[in-house]
Amino acid sequence: MSQDQGVIIAGAAETNEIGKLPGKSTLQLHIESAVNAVADAGLRLRDIDGIATVNSPGPVQVAHALGITPSWMDGTAVGGTSFLLHVRHAAAAIRAGYARTVLITHGESGRSRIGATPFPRGNSSIPGQFEAPYGTAGPTTAFTLPVLRYMKEYGLTHEQLAYVAVAQRKWAAQNPRAMFRELITVEDVLASRLVAYPFHLLECCLVTDGGGALVVTSAHRAADFPKPAVHVLGTGESAETPLISQMVDFTESQANRLAGKAALAEAGITTADVRHLMIYDAFAHLPIYGLEALGFCAKGEAGAFIADGNTEPGGRLPLNTNGGGLSYTHTGMYGMFAIQEGVRQVRGEAPAQVPSVDISVILGNGGMFATSGALVLGRHPR
């Protein structure tokens, strides 16, 4: 791809604080992250002509609150991976000339629920008719459902599943912004209380408040910003099913596989080129499914790959280096934070910095294995 067709992330920032923020509404978390990201890019809000975020509050509310009049907007809301799709859609819009400088925002009072939208419960929806009557209670009972089948088919052990949380806590221990930083053992994880067997509390993500935002623009402006440009080398998206019971195969995520394949193909890279990886981890099995979907591990081998230390500090494939949703933060739609860490690693400014991250891959999940987005970020243009 020529330099003039390329797209970069020119600004990236999170809210001042993440965690428990009962003094800030969902909209305020959008505003704060937007102001921070625009400042990070050395721009002013009036320079923004494109806006993307999820409902609610949605692109119209966020743009209006910030005094932005958009010539392009995207309200794609397909779960926590939505922000990866916004980057993909923004890249297309910038190439098409629909917008020059796009702002993508996330804010969510996921823990304190200040100014937050109530969770919808439509009894006539398909999930309302065919899942809710059986006592589902959100992600902890649906996202988790496939893993016993995976364990039977491939021999994944309870200890290996627990080790995913152990490995990520080692990264979080190096990150002052992470909510949980004390090192833990497999025994600690298995002794934490059961949430939905076989998942214990420490195998489930945090629930926090926070936000993050990105400024996306053309690569020909790469030298115009205070921070090193992060090139968007490849993108992908896909969807599988709104009902966990209808996944084609409980041992793999089709959406992860298709989104990841598209992103790596567009970037013209293979897994061997990847120096840093973020996989959306609402629960401990997601890095296992993601590693296999992206092709880093053969089917059934990712649990052992993580337990052997390959993804933790000092390992050959640094994974979820902010601590992930399991230890860093998880507002409900975590994807923005996975992108933020990928940007920090490529820029060389992460708290737990990996040496020489030329290429970072980010794999997102939306809903419960419902949707996926993927990004390949790089220090250099293709």
Binding site: N123, S124, P133, T141, T144, L194
Partner: protein, 139 residues
Amino acid sequence: MPEPTPETQPFWDGCARGELLLQRCRDCGKPYFYPRPVCPECGSTDVEWFAASGRATLYSYVINHRPARGFENDAPYAIAVVQLAEGPRMMTNIVGVPNTPEDLILDMDLQVIFEQRGEISLPVFTPASAGTPRAGGQE
């Protein structure tokens, strides 16, 4: 409790009669669930209802310790996905057996029965070896 829509009403009416109804494409023959008036395999809208055998195997499950509203007295309880003999999978609860990892063995044989919950007759599954009366249409 589920609120049927026009497209799903026949399924819930079937449950009220003790029949587990699925849909099948008249063009390609593919049986499918959940109810909708188009075949997800070939796109045909020429589809029909039929009574499933009610036989299934246990495909996967979790045992939920944080009950949904209205399920407080049931926790911990299993939320399961079963593989119907006809091919499609559906979510369900498992009854007539303790909901423990020791008693819920993947691929165990199950049979549908119907539980009255409010105004809805809900399909749930029980171990086939328990000698429960067969419900759900054709043998």
